[in-house]
């Protein structure tokens, strides 16, 4: 089946007379949440898949490399998905048609880390990148309203900027710095585990000024992922690069209103359940709950982001991506192919559906 046929087939199942506006037109019949995710098949082929939270696949685009995460354009019917470290491509996807609109390369001496974010009006796109000859982390700024022309680079003052989010004020960026040095010549090898300097920073997206720089409690707590609430509270997830037998805190909380930065420590056995590694963070805008996926611990941690209090751990095999639903629940994707719904009221996840593919680290709202 050709991709176009497949898209039409998928959408026909949802609403008759699919037009280019089928996503919008069929919103009454569809669940609220649609998303994009990078996936691998069992044979190791790479795709970007669009699906909804009923588990229905809407389209899939073949890509040459493993991709990571991205961002929905606020109004253009587009989303950007980025290749995975040390990849060099930014895929601009028409989410109405299920087609690739453009492919933008990182530029000489740069590779992306796999995350990006749009400004509120969609005119700018900010992508975390490595200037690998120097190892300096940069935010590459693109004119999304002008064919993704590269405009400038904003240095983050450290290495390995990974996920970033736009602050609800529309002016600031919050960036997780992993602190890990890599170079494409060495693939994905981490070159500075003894001297890494991770951080969580807040940056002015216009001037590039770093307004706040928070350091994790251990220099090997690599700050990778985050989400920010409507009221400006950041929850960030770490990956610990130190000795296996240590169980340092893995979740940080930053109140951007007051500048208060803290870490959420769990009891030792609870901390150990996370396997020293977190993948995705999602804050539910319809509740006070944040979800953090922990694939090495095969679980999803729920916490009250306002108080910082842990609420529970739900067992999900190999969880990667997580997105909040309007009803307060979360959709979680698994590397084993399952899509799950996780609720704060239940200790077990609900299996929504299972695909014979591997959902990669993140779900990107579409």
């Amino acid at each position: 089946m050709q991709r176009r046929d497949f898209i039409q087939f998928s959408l026909l199942g949802i609403a008759a007379f699919c037009s280019a506006h089928s996503f919008a037109a069929s919103s009454r019949e569809l669940p609220d949440l649609r998303f994009l995710s990078s996936v691998d098949t069992a044979l190791g082929e790479h795709f970007i898949v669009a699906a909804n939270s009923n588990g229905r696949e809407l389209f899939r685009l073949p890509v040459a490399e493993r991709c990571h995460s991205g961002c929905l354009h606020p109004n253009a019917g587009q989303a950007v998905i980025m290749s995975r470290r040390p990849g060099k491509n930014l895929y601009v996807i028409n989410i109405l048609e299920g087609t690739l609109d453009a492919l933008v390369e990182a530029g000489d001496g740069f590779h992306f880390y796999g995350h990006g974010v749009f400004s509120e009006d969609g005119s700018r796109f900010y992508a975390t990148a490595n200037h690998y000859p120097s190892g300096a982390g940069q935010i590459r700024v693109y004119a999304a309203d002008d064919g993704y022309r590269h405009m400038q680079d904003l240095p983050v003052g450290g290495m390995d900027p990974h996920e970033l989010r736009l602050h609800p004020d529309g002016q600031r960026l919050v960036v997780a710095l992993g602190g890990i040095k890599t170079h494409p010549d060495y693939g994905r090898i981490k070159l500075n585990l003894q001297s890494m300097q991770p951080a969580l920073i807040v940056m002015d997206r216009h001037s590039g000024e770093v307004l706040q720089h928070c350091e994790p409690s251990h220099h090997q707590l690599s700050c990778h992922h985050l989400d920010i609430s409507r009221d400006g509270i950041v929850i960030a997830g770490y990956q610990f690069e130190g000795e296996k037998w240590q169980t340092p805190p893995l979740i940080a909380r930053l109140d951007t209103n007051t500048g208060d930065f803290s870490e959420i420590a769990l009891a030792e056995h609870e901390q150990a359940m996370l396997g020293n590694y977190t993948a995705s963070v999602a804050i539910n805008p319809h509740s006070t709950v944040a979800a953090i996926t922990a694939p090495r611990g095969n679980c999803v941690m729920l916490l009250d982001y306002r108080s910082g209090q842990p609420m529970g751990v739900v067992s999900v095999p190999d969880p990667g991506g997580v997105l909040a639903e309007r009803d307060g629940s979360f959709v979680v994707s698994s590397g084993h192919g399952g899509l799950y719904r996780v609720r704060t009221s239940a200790t077990e996840p609900e299996l929504i559906t299972h695909h014979t593919l591997r959902w990669d680290n993140h779900l990107t709202r579409a």
Binding site: D185, K244, G297, H336, T347
Partner: protein, 347 residues
Amino acid sequence: MPSLSNLSLRTLKWGSTALLAASFCTSAWAQAPREAWHGALTEGYAALATSTANLDQAATTYCATPSAEQREALESAWFSAFDSWQAVRFVDFGPIEQDNLSWQFQFWPDAKNTVARKVNLWLGGEQAIGIDQLRADSVAVKGFPALEYLLFDPQAARTQPLPEKRACELVTAISSLLQHNAAHLQEQWQAFRPHYLGTEQFQNTTVLAAMHGLDILRNKRLAAPMGLEGKPRRNPYIADAWRSEHSLAGIRASLVGLQQYFLPGLRELMVDAEGSELVERLDQQLTATIARLEQQPADMQTLLANDDGYRTLQLIFIEIDKLNQLLSGNIASQLGIIRGFNSSDGD
């Protein structure tokens, strides 16, 4: 583990005392496989420490009193140390994860020929050569492939042949670093013991490490040079240890390692009739594959060069594929182990 993670934290807080009591009761049998693995790998890491110490000694002796005989002794010490590394190479958890130790022992794959580039920089430079200077440099220059390049590659000899001063300084510094790293690893493996035995997750981690090691062996070390994976073109240079014509011997050493250091714990883990039958089949298949590898008249490069040789490699591939099917198929499914995608290679 599953029963623990199914519980919410609220439940855990109330039920932790009962759970702890239960875990004491079950700890004796549950730890048995990990005790066997830890013990076996203690031997494996000790063998690596001894063989790298011998290598270090052979390098020092050769460079102090160079002769054809000492050169042969040095090369033979490299083969033996490389093989003892291959035997424990499947272990991808624990102290080996620290400070890129695994990469320091063997930087591979090396698609861009970084090893040669880095070693040539040292050979052609004027900076002092010592273990501390090497520590500060790239992983590509710290391990077995860098030594292999110096010992076996004519290109290195054209730049500066052994036993000339800088080449010798580099060979002794790399050997010394290997020996230090192996001794450190051996020591840390002992420090790791309580955590390894006390953490149930390591049971699956250890099986997954062997599965992963066999996958790399089949797909990257054998299928890829045969043109069966990636580019459909025969290419001996993407195998490991091609410079010393030791690619197949290295594969053999890895299989011997699985037999010596992985099977004992697996035997403790799979004690029912069906389980022990599967372990027995894995053992026999390992023995058969090792025997086939020992019969090879030449290394990968020669065998890839003609169709008869290629057929020989195909037969090896079939045997190794059977090993993979047994371990990643039957045994993993019997143990309920599913390989994680996000957990094993996330970002």
